[in-house]
Symmetry: C2
DNA sequence: TTGTACGCGTTATCAA
DNA sequence: TTGATAACGCGTACAA
């Protein structure tokens, strides 16, 4: 009564289970009338094939795992949107997991996926430089991985990133050209590859303009808002930079808050530019200059690549790095 | 070689499959040494029990489906965070689905979940007032549902909402007290219950202060940014309200953009207040007055309720409505 | 404490 | 076009 299944239907309809199965899988080997009869009966009895049984049979879950450091974040939520868009078109579903930038969580979830729970993984990594063996296990099980934005260089997989070096260089140069001589670089975790790349653009731009690089101007922040507020308060009152290049949106906001409280004028006393996917950057006080990554497009691209791998199974297929372009928006906060 | 499973391990180790199974399920009926031997072997050979087989056996997926209108949105992404938080503690995973406010997508996904793909569902509905039969089917299959924020009144299920009526009343009253006489109410879809409730608070506040309700001041907007821009441009130039009460964050942003372009002074000429979960509302130009829903807490609450139902199976359990309180933040945009 | 044997619900293969 | 049957990989009575 409660649990209808293919067998019970078979009995009721005096039809074999195979035929019923065929009715649900678009098989051509079935009489139109039989099929309709079956589907009608199914509708009436609220029956749908059980996914776990199907998955167990053909070892496909039609599910994609998406692993991100945070969800409540303009960049990642837009990227997830892009991924979802593609997945839906393919009839796939999204298993979402947040790591909070904690390496252990990443490892535990990836391990959990190591057994058929998802057909593939799209991830932006927590960034720990340690042992990435847990990821290598996946390829043993033919679970393809695509990285986006934050990647592990030592893992061979498709990667979707943006031209971070160029953007950082351009942003830093822009600050210099508007008159900044003492530009602080704000970063959350220097060791993450993305933090390093962005910093290199900053360093090289300084060099090009003969401004000596000062390690004290590299401000290593945390994920805790209050801690960041304190760090930045100290920096702005003691080191007194005249420009801020923030590698992470959140730190630009923190800078704004500190400036509001300390009465520091942006862009008069301090010019600010930041990596950010915030849609309403123009509405800030003052409008925030941004390097905006094509988050949605990155999601689309990552998902597309994953499906290519999923579908090209068997063929030798060289993993690639795909670099999309960020856009520089000069606004009031940097004197634009 | 490739595919290790319980049987192969059994052969290799000269142990029965049941014992191996026991090693993975915290069964007390197993010798410590045997267990360790098994787990060691499993680690070495990168084995984990297959989820689909397990799920098929005990008809539990340890997965929660989360259905929301949009993901890239401050309210929903924070709510998802809350849900994820609870789910993780319970060892559950999140299947995420976005409806884009399109009723058909909601129906199709819910139907898809109707066969064991998820143990329970947490959703914020698209709001169509039509036939909600697809949801009733779920209870037949013992898949509990919890609504949050946007609910269907006619479905019996746990519901987590906020005190929207009171908040709307308070916000409107606040605008009146700062001198507004011609307050426009911005809404995306009047027919959604949440839009109606919020509007009622607005209407009643007007009435209390003897301001006649004017239907022309109820501005029905869309989900398309450009369309909204045009609608609001027209409203602000032709109807010229002196206050805006926006039931949706997005429309407040649109108002800001229009005001920027038309040179309308906020709060001088126009006062603005909006429902919004934007963390950086204080950083806007001018700082945006908001009614802020406890999005994260709502997620927590919704997930907690779902697990209660999941665990209390069998017991009669009255569905309840849980109302959390929003907070009113008066800032510059409304003359604060 | 361990092993045997069956079934979870589906689908692919083969035969009719 | 349809049906019988054997897997898919696991967990759980039940027996030992």
């Amino acid at each position: 009564m409660d649990n209808i299944n293919i067998k019970k239907m078979a009995k009721e309809l005096n039809i074999s289970t195979s035929t019923i199965s065929r009715a649900f899988n678009g098989s051509p080997d079935i009489n139109k009338d039989t099929k309709e009869k079956i589907l009608a009966f199914a509708r009436e009895h609220n029956f749908l094939p059980n996914h776990y049984a199907s998955n167990l049979r053909d070892k496909k879950s039609h599910t994609l795992a998406v692993i991100v450091p945070e969800i409540a974040n303009d960049f990642f939520s837009q990227a997830i949107n892009g991924i979802e868009e593609v997945a839906r078109k393919k009839g796939f579903y999204i298993l979402l997991y947040r790591t909070d930038d904690i390496f252990e969580k990443e490892v535990s979830f990836v391990n959990y996926l190591n057994n058929g729970k998802a057909d593939g993984i799209i991830m932006s990594v927590s960034g720990e430089a340690s042992d990435h063996n847990y990821l290598k296990k996946l390829s043993q099980k033919n679970v393809p991985v695509v990285f986006f934005d934050r990647v592990y260089e030592d893992i061979e997989a498709a990667k979707v990133t943006t031209n971070d070096y160029d953007s950082s260089f351009a942003a830093t140069e822009h600050l210099i050209e508007t008159g900044c001589q003492k530009i602080a670089y704000l970063v959350v975790n220097k060791s993450i590859s993305i933090g390093k790349v962005r910093m290199q653009g900053y360093i090289d731009a300084l060099q090009k303009h003969h401004i000596p690089f000062d390690d004290n101007l590299v401000i290593d922040c945390s994920n805790d808002e209050k801690v960041n507020y304190n760090i930045l308060s100290k920096v702005l009152t003691e080191i007194k930079p005249d420009g801020i290049f923030s590698s992470v949106e959140r730190l630009a906001f923190a800078t704004y808050y500190v400036c509001n409280d300390l009465g520091i004028d942006i862009p008069g006393t301090l010019k600010v530019i930041s990596f950010s996917s915030l849609g309403i950057a123009p509405l800030l006080c003052p409008a925030l200059s941004t390097i905006t990554q094509p988050a949605y497009e990155m999601g689309i691209k990552a998902a597309t690549l994953l499906f290519e791998e999923l579908e090209k199974k068997g063929q030798v297929h060289h993993k690639k790095e795909h670099v999309l372009k960020s856009k520089l928006y000069i606004r009031k906060s940097s004197g634009g």
